[in-house]
Amino acid sequence: MNYTIIHNNQTIDIATIPQLEYDVFFDLNSNFILDHSERHCVNYFGYKVENDIKLICCIADDDTHEIFVSSCLVNNTNDYHSFSAKLLCFEKFEREIHENFGIKYLNHPWLKPVRYAFNRFDKTKTIANYPFFSIDSEELHEVGVGPIHAGIIEPGHFRFICNGEQILHLEIQLGYQHRGIEDLFLKKKKLLQRSTLAENIAGDTTVGHTTAFANITESLCGFQKPREIEFGRTIALELERIAVHTGDLSGICTDIAYQLGSSVFGRLRTPIINFLQEWCGNRLGKGLIRPGVNQFPFTPELAKRIIEILDSFEHDFVEMNKELFKLPSALSRFERTGVVSKEDILNIGAVGMVARMNYLNRDIRVSHPNSIYSELNHEPIIKHHGDVYSRVQIRRQEVIQSIKHIRKLVENVPEISKEKVGLGKPKTNSFTISLVEGWRGEICHCAITDSNGELVIYKIKDPSFHNWLALALAVRNNEISDFPINNKSFNLSYCGHDL
């Protein structure tokens, strides 16, 4: 077999990943995906092995719950056929490989820098002279927005090509948030430093990313997790989902100038994040999740507290939503705004909410469940219009669903064991992958260790890495005044993308 099959959070000997000729590697991975909507690329990256670059490609199969891993050695003297010419979902990955290592692709449609990493191959390319697509035309005009935006948000540049009020094309340029996180994972050797880094990948997904980091570290060290740890992480992930979705509903109401909805959803987020503070001392859950320890055990008292909070939350949340969804002025802004077609969703390899807004059933909680999701009989919420309305509806329903999950979970709060088991040492020459369904969608971390058990590479992929392109496609033929609501309905991460 020219690939190896692993499961989520499984550690394998790096030598067991077959190393293929590029042509074989190309055919294998593109055939995995071609005409298989249940499969997609969860990570594809390179790292230095002496003078060459080793590429690792991970394709997840949602039906069989397997991940197919294969590898290939390339260098920057040869030219390579690009996967992207055949399958658009590899577009970003190949751009990243090109940017980091100078690997040359023959027929990539769009070989532009991804994030202007400090250790990029070609330092002459700078963020100030990004090669934007432009059209010479008397009728059309360009609108540039950013990197600094009008509100309190992260930086990124949006370049629109418009025909009057209508957007024909949007190009999104990122990289302003690049802090060199992946590199710091190798340099900072203390576990607590790495946990801190994981918390900072995207602060709004603290729980999601630290869970991925903790799971990968525990798998690498062969640590057997007691149930209490899995339990806490599952609750925290669902709380994070409730909090951010609710905040997003507030933002969406702000963007359609619906003050009541904006205030009510805005204030409803507070009891949820304040609960996180009651639990772990931080409103975003920083400090809550650490590899190998149950830092803040979830006690029966906390269980009682969260039920109280959810009871009053749910009442107000449902009431506000009922009102919002019968307002013609709100619905007319949501419906048929920012549509991304089913085909496009599939082609670009969208994940999480963005996949689920148009038929695509992609949810790690079901397909590659971590923690104790397999006990929850989770059924992903799927919508069918791919518009703002679908994205808003998903949030509304996922919040209710997460509440249900938490209620069910806290019926049985696991006992906290007294005995402490050490994390142990990381295995040598190993490869591990960890997938977590954060509120935005699938988070994927990969780690490889050397013969001393030290990290050789720590690769992070936020769901936004796939989904930014969906936003660019969504706004085509929309009025430019609908951009804010489109943007908010996706709420993608800048820092999670830029790393």
Partner: protein
Amino acid sequence: MLDNLKILYHQGKQFIPNVQTAKVPGIFRGRPIISSEKVNEVELVEICPTNAITANPLAIDLGKCTFCGECAKCFPNKIQFTTDYKLATNLRENLIVKEGDQNAIQINQDKIRNEIKNFFGNSLKLRQVCAGGDNSCEWELNAANNVQFDMGRFGIEFVASPRHADGIVITGPITENMAEPLQICYDAIPNPKIIVLASTDAISGGIFENSPAVDRSFLNKYPIDLYLPGNPVHPLTIINGLLGLTKR
């Protein structure tokens, strides 16, 4: 209409009446207190992920601390985090809490620039620039404006253009890629160009302090008017800090 009124009624009063005396729920890691107990200081210093702890005498630099709580967990008799969220100051050295310090962290009124002191008592407009912030401090800055914390009641607002602003609130360690946009934004702000650094990453770089992707040279050029520690900074720290600076 009736439905709207019903919703309004169900919300009740949400705002925090007094942002200066409000209590934060549950455990919160605010200003630490360091006791005089003898401990293995080398071990304690070694715990910290961001080198915020120094020995002889033992001190914690809140400009570097990520408030992870690990030091207090390992040495509970030595270090304790109180729920005091009034952490803001205009002097960098005030952020260093030493062994035995019990006092609240102060804003030194004499050191506030005169141009700031006398003008912004009733209205302060700020521009926010995120320069590598992880969207947690941005989230808390937004929260300071929500119906509960309601910073707007003090006339403090975030504005959409640097031209309308009295100052700038910076979050994040300042990435190399944001260094130029930050400078352009700063140049566009009229005097007195107040600079506020929000959260650990902005104050010291935090865990990103020595990252080659970060360029903090901007901060060497100008005086910093206010430090707002936290990871991320709590809305009550933000509001009390800004109120303290504009002297109310």
